[in-house]
Subunit: 346 residues, 2 copies
């Protein structure tokens, strides 16, 4: 089979690899229909984080079940599924508490392989989300939205859920990447009445507004804090979605909240040390981490996509086939695409 492989920073290649096989009774083999490139892939693509050469890549996809292990009863060959980047078992304390992104029974070293023709997927029985029907039943737009349920839409939702966004809230969303834009969708879905998107790119500002942003703040740092305060009678907002992860973004996120606000962060933190006293003296909460993809998809997001309530697939502004995987990465690396879709099979 063909699959994308990391060669060195700045370079990915499609190689011919052995088709994966069932290794555990809890596995499924999935024929990938559509995959995508994630902003977090750029960390190793740019050489900022380490990745071993010759490892398969990608962690977002939808596909068709090809085979299942003996303990997998919830899905069967032929089923159309979302393949999340997380692999919740569904029965550990973390999964039961709704934090399947931190499942205590995840297989170590599972990290990639979704940008290829076939994928071995551990903990398939609970973690996979069955989509009714088959790919041919859905429009191109809906298929794209379904791909986002493997990661970015669920991650944006995790920012909003962690920040405890509720009906009537005023919210700031830090970050105008695909996750931040999905954070805007999530805030609206949870009933926010005012959504302030932090963005300095016209195309992303436009998409943020289409998704439900009511205000755009292009400033950064203290100027951004001042602007948000000016928009909120000097008070700050009820909830903050931090979808970047840089020290500056986290710092701004903490400062734009009113007393008692929660910062829900899903941007992988670039700086570990943080002054948490500013949190304490304003009762600002800090929550977030790896998204509960399966939980959100099963309870909220799949239905919202299938009913047309949300259209997160609009974050895909460029489309590639597997043979052009290098172009898919380059487009995101050079900010030519908000997010790159990779169409692999029908």
């Amino acid at each position: 089979m063909k699959a994308a492989v990391f060669i060195e920073p700045g370079k990915v290649e499609v190689k011919e690899l052995a088709k994966p096989t069932l290794e555990k009774p809890t596995d499924a083999i999935i024929r990938i229909v559509r995959a995508s490139v994630c902003g977090s892939d750029l960390w190793w693509f740019r050489g900022i984080s380490h990745r071993d050469a010759n490892t398969t890549v990608g962690h977002e996809a939808i596909g068709i079940i090809e085979a299942v292990g003996s303990e997998v009863t919830a899905v069967k060959p032929g089923d159309f599924v979302i393949a999340p980047f997380t692999h919740g078992c569904g029965h550990c304390a973390a999964c039961l508490a709704g934090f399947d992104g931190d499942c205590l029974n995840q297989e170590p070293g599972i990290n990639g392989g979704y940008q290829g023709q076939y994928l071995r997927f551990p903990n398939a029985n609970w973690a996979l989300i069955k989509i009714p029907g088959h790919p041919s039943d859905y429009s191109d737009a809906v298929l794209n939205s379904l791909v986002t349920l493997a990661d970015v839409m669920a991650t944006g939702y995790h920012a909003a859920a962690s920040a405890e966004v509720k009906s009537g809230d005023t919210v700031v969303v830090m970050g105008d990447g695909a996750v931040g834009l999905c954070g805007v969708i999530a805030a609206k879905l949870r009933g926010a009445k005012r959504i302030i998107a932090m963005s300095r790119h016209a195309d992303r500002q436009a998409l943020a507004k289409e998704f439900g942003a009511t205000d755009i703040v292009a400033e950064r740092g203290q100027a951004a804090v001042d602007k948000v305060k000016a928009l909120t009678d000097g008070v700050g907002v009820d909830a903050v979605l931090e979808c970047v992860g840089t020290a500056q973004s986290v710092d701004t996120a903490v400062q734009v909240g009113r007393p008692g606000a929660i910062v829900g962060r899903v941007g992988v933190p670039q700086k570990a040390e943080m002054n948490t006293n500013q949190l304490f003296w304003q009762n600002i909460g800090l929550r977030g981490g790896v998204a509960s993809v399966t939980t959100y998809d099963k309870t909220v997001l799949l239905k919202a996509v299938l009913t047309g309530q949300i259209n997160p697939g609009k974050v895909f502004t460029q489309r590639f086939d597997l043979d052009h995987i290098q172009d898919a990465y380059d487009a995101m690396d050079q900010r030519l695409a908000i997010k790159s879709l990779v169409v692999i099979s029908d």
Copy 2:
């Protein structure tokens, strides 16, 4: 009137001062009935934090309204009230969101004076909590419990509320001072089924158990983490109440939570910088700060005391009159008392 005054580290004195008068239409003058010494008073008493010499001290009391300003309609002279250490206006964004400890309309510099015969109390209309009847209607035990509603019981409750303790939860309480012990009460009041109290003093362990603790962990640091993990099938707890504030306590608090747990902290943080990556990768939340005293008293705590559901006044293990204020501080400083009561008038 007589009031306790800070002289120098280790020394407080009762002095004759002018009786306070109404300065604003939102003020009340309160004749203090009972006051108390707080663990946080020990910071300046021990010279660890700065306090100006000759300032009045104390921030927990119950008393009788002596006079009210023209805009105060919710209480009137003769009313029996709890005087919280916070002064929520009741109508700013922070108060409306339930965070009156961070009221945006608090008068700067209000910090002390409750350990005296009379007190000027700003924002009296909303912040004070009216107690039905008069002091003579209540037992000594209930009067003591009412004193704790000015700070420590509400602060312990804030730890539990910030940690989002809910029915059936397993909870760790860090700290066996009066606030930590009130945290045990609060966790039980919110329905926790298992409460692990961190304590190494026999008298405090006994009181923690009386208040609802089901397990005691006397270890500290990694040994404490290991013990909690052993008590919870290796998983960690649903919620953590951090009622100490030292770097070690906060670090332990973060490590004993299961994925998705929230650390509700009310211990004044002794170290600002903190590695927050460990929070992110386990979805551990960090919340807390200054307690919403008036909100909790009005909605939950006053009723719980008056119906006998909770008895936080048991934290007072020694009693003094105002003339023996030095002894009241010494008893807490030397850990001879869990908390010192100061009886000022009938």
